[in-house]
Symmetry: C2
Subunit: 123 residues, 2 copies
Amino acid sequence: MQDNLSATFSALADPTRRAMLARLSEGEANVSDLAKPFLNEMSLPAITKHLKVLEKAGLITKSREAQWRPCKINAEALKDVAGWMEQYRVFWEESFDRLDEYLKTVTGNKNKKKKGKANARKK
Amino acid sequence: MQDNLSATFSALADPTRRAMLARLSEGEANVSDLAKPFLNEMSLPAITKHLKVLEKAGLITKSREAQWRPCKINAEALKDVAGWMEQYRVFWEESFDRLDEYLKTVTGNKNKKKKGKANARKK
DNA sequence: CTGTTAATTAACCTACTAGTTAATTATAGG
DNA sequence: CCTATAATTAACTAGTAGGTTAATTAACAG
């Protein structure tokens, strides 16, 4: 995989992996915890592979504790995706018919009632 | 490709296609306009294929005008991605060291430094 | 009608993805 | 030491992604 962002998007392009992330957003979990909802659809080695993809993309980190491998979601990679998304925000906010509100928040920076502010300080 | 969101992420997992989107975010463009920056790296049929991927993912729309195919970026698909991202926002906002601000706005709590509760407001 | 430009389609190749089963490693516990 | 549990590795397979070249379609301009 060429660049980091491509690896991240690629990792997200799979419902099993997104479900794993969703589970991890509620707290740490071992491989077998993460596997449980999928063991009727696929084998444990398949799970291991999915986790490797998430790990290489930097979306999770895995540690060791006895024979378990507790996994944690990782903020950094998600931040990169969010950062990339920022440059397109205007396109979907516009489609909500809130473009002018949006423009107010980026130019005058008050009155942020919605998620719109997000990028007032893009790194 | 199974679901729509997977198709969208998959389409975004390629730097050529992201560059095309970036170009389209500045306005409509024909296939050959979009191809120009890449014709030293790949052929025109390859470009056509990339555009098909973007189109199937709903990220662009293509129309006809004489022998040209003007392409436009499409807000809806991006909105879906943004919507998916929302549930994880807390993870990268936290990494900006604004977690307690966030927690104040959501719960009224002060001074929680850890991410344990991540999804207090899952959609 | 002819030639040129724009773009797509067809047929093919290679490499990678996502899955499998079977074997292996590592740790804990009796 | 022996066995069960947790997870990974190895070896293989089918299908898909991303590229190629050559041929084809379509519209316009003389």
